[in-house]
Symmetry: C2
Subunit: 305 residues, 2 copies
């Protein structure tokens, strides 16, 4: 019953079966999706409720993975049909995924249950069709803090929906290529200025293995990515970053200041570092509070001067 009175971080996003090939291996129908990575990362910091949809072919073991991390999956619909599937290949340069196929499956026509969220609760709109993201925002319940992520596909195909989202969101996470695409600016400070002019106060620009930038009305911050030797599969790194960052902020709720915002960026980066070391969510599942603390300490050493 505890969960029914606690405030949770709601995470809307995709739950998927990913088939990914990198120079370091290949997996078929592994657990993936923006909500999956984000929720597992955030679950180390706060209570999480996932909002999404899967098909009847979604393995029960996957659902168990969330439950074992204490993630509330009661707002995940199970619908007759196929789970969202993504197939991709990474070349030796791991920076860029070459999408081979995307099958939306049960996500076609999906509209989340607006009653899933309650007034004042935080909301992370992980990467998903911006019309679905906006739909959840326009319900009766008014979420508190709203963070969102998006991707190039939506910027190209539904730019006005993405811009609409920015008018309502408090924080946007976006990668460097996407920030350049939506703003038309090569320079990332200029891109962040453009995005903030569209209504979102805080902007995180993720640069993959090169770290991240963070902009608010008072903050310009830059952090390197956690230095790793063995990156096997970058899938979900950005989603994990988002979950780690917003989860960390949720834990500190009501006590957020500039330094805490900057530190949240570091926790996002650290969580992403676990995700990319293995395929699917495996690396993320090995991260516990102690491992996170260890990497935070190491991050301090790596960046000290």
């Amino acid at each position: 019953m505890r969960r029914s009175i606690r405030m949770s971080l709601n995470i809307l996003g995709s739950m998927a079966l990913d088939s990914v090939e990198t120079p370091y291996g290949r997996e078929v129908d592994s657990l993936g999706g923006s909500a999956s990575f984000s929720a597992l990362a955030a679950s180390l910091f706060c209570d999480v409720r996932m909002i999404g949809i899967v098909g009847t072919d979604f393995p029960k073991e996957n659902m168990k993975i969330f439950e074992e991390r204490g993630v509330d999956t009661s707002a995940v619909e199970v619908k007759d049909g196929a789970t969202f599937r993504w197939r991709a290949r990474y070349k030796h340069e791991l920076g860029h995924a070459h999408t081979i196929g995307t099958e939306f499956g049960v996500f076609e026509g999906y509209l989340p249950d607006r009653n899933s969220i309650r007034n004042g609760e935080s909301l992370l709109l992980a990467n998903l069709d911006p019309d679905i993201q906006n739909w959840l925002l326009e319900g009766e319940a008014q979420p508190g803090f709203v963070a969102c992520d998006t991707m190039g596909l939506w910027i190209k195909e539904k730019k006005s929906s993405v811009l609409k989202l920015l008018r309502r969101a408090d924080l946007l996470l976006i990668n460097d290529a996407e920030a350049r695409l939506i703003s038309g600016e090569r320079d990332l400070i200029g891109a962040a200025r453009y995005l903030r002019s569209k209504g979102v106060n805080m902007v995180v620009i993720k640069k993959g293995e090169h770290g991240a930038l963070f902009f608010t009305d008072r903050i310009h911050s830059m952090i390197p990515a956690f230095l790793l030797e063995n990156i096997k599969d970058p899938t979900g790194a950005g989603d994990t970053f988002a979950g780690g960052m917003i989860g960390y902020l949720e834990r500190a709720k009501g006590n957020i200041n500039d330094m805490l915002l900057r530190r949240a960026l570091v926790y996002g980066s650290i969580m992403a570092s676990f995700a990319v070391e293995q395929f699917s969510v495996k690396g993320l599942l090995q991260a516990d509070a102690k491992a996170v603390k260890g990497r935070y300490k190491r991050f301090l050493e790596l960046t000290g001067f």
Copy 2:
């Protein structure tokens, strides 16, 4: 007479006339060359003696620029013939220069005067033919601390000479693409391990706008690049980084510890940030001690968490 008894940082490298085009402008026969950028950057921190060669067509105003920064140019030969010239174009992505032409001019057959350096003095071998770099090292005078830089051209054409250089040098500065090229490793930690196994104890891997990594037997360090909005011409950024870093170390000579080495990386990055804001050495010439101090403070703010 003061200069004759003080220890100097000796900088061997190219002195050139650069013709560079970027999306932000175009210059013809501007002051360039690895030694030029390195020396101007280092001169803010320590006494500098340049070692190099120019043709009789090298403008007197250029020589004056060094002298006004207190750089000792007595070891710069002036020879009948043409100064080294480099022509290049940068596309909208400023990361990579497309070389249009290189004319070595008086650098063909150049061997520096080994008597230019004195026992125990520090030496920065800025990017240049590794056979010339090695030649200076093999003289009677034994320099103290030796830092060196190189580039893809020499790795491709004279790899054994570059490797020979690494056996003698204490510190190598190299960019990420070059580190991958020489080591055959995609991963930069692996590349640094390869380079260190070749005899050079300290390795800086420069990642351009993405910062730098630093490896010694005890240190793994990563710093972001100074966040800039207006980059006009990246030419000389790496050379300037080297000059700033080694100049800072030279100033602290005899008192070097791990934290100081890490901080030297930040000063390298800060000096490079001035260089890229304008064409040729113009940005660098605007940097004085106060401006450097200001950017160091700003760097602390940008990277704090």
